[in-house]
Symmetry: C2
Subunit: 134 residues, 2 copies
């Protein structure tokens, strides 16, 4: 398994900070949920566990999506783009992906010369994080 | 128009290099086509022209998608994520998005401990670029 993951890692072009941007897309609806980052250890954890693990740039630690909020992502497919520097994950999202309580993070759209909110929170952020910062 | 675009730009958190990652998604099928980057001028051009313009990090110049290949992207919606550092575009892609001639760039999937090609080129790269490098 470890050898296999080494071969997976060998094709991924991490940036100078050792990170690669990762898109999470809901596998059945095609909804783009969020973008986050992975380092090598996050890729290892994700492929080994079948559950999505990112690298939190703000907290500088591995971030198993949903470890605090419960809103985890099961891995359905792990894809890499033509030049190897972007990952696309097909996932099965439990609950909501966005820390604001919305299903996905892309809830602002530029329409009629202004930013418009096109989705409302489905749950209160406080309910996700118990009053702790996201 | 220019004032409006300044307001659009004000909400986008460009990185230290003045860039923001951008996902292009086919508006009607939900297919994730590619990821590229925009600087402020690329955002301006995209919103002003209704046609997607990226910043080419390799060529260090504005890159109106399709200017060489003809495979342009018409803008259908311009979205921003919760923390303002990733853009999601809904587009109408003419032809193929990937310089390899595939419809989208994410044609490698990690399955059964190996990278598997899950899509074939629909056109020959040489037909897209006339023998010039992509």
């Amino acid at each position: 398994m470890s050898d296999a993951i080494d071969r997976a890692l060998a094709e991924i072009r991490f940036d100078v900070d050792g990170l690669v941007p990762v898109i999470a897309q809901q596998h059945d609806t095609g909804e783009v949920l969020m973008v986050a980052w992975m380092n090598r250890d996050a890729v290892r954890a994700t492929l080994a566990e079948g559950r999505v693990c990112y690298w939190s740039r703000s907290r500088k630690k591995l971030w198993r999506k949903g470890e605090t909020s419960g809103q985890k992502q099961l891995l359905r497919d792990f894809r890499l783009d033509c030049d190897g520097d972007t990952v696309l994950l097909l996932v099965d999202q439990t609950g909501v992906a966005c820390h604001t309580g919305r299903r996905n993070c892309f809830f602002r759209a530029w329409r009629d010369d202004g930013w418009t909110e096109i989705a409302k929170p489905l749950v209160a952020p406080e309910a996700l994080y118990g009053g702790k910062p996201a």
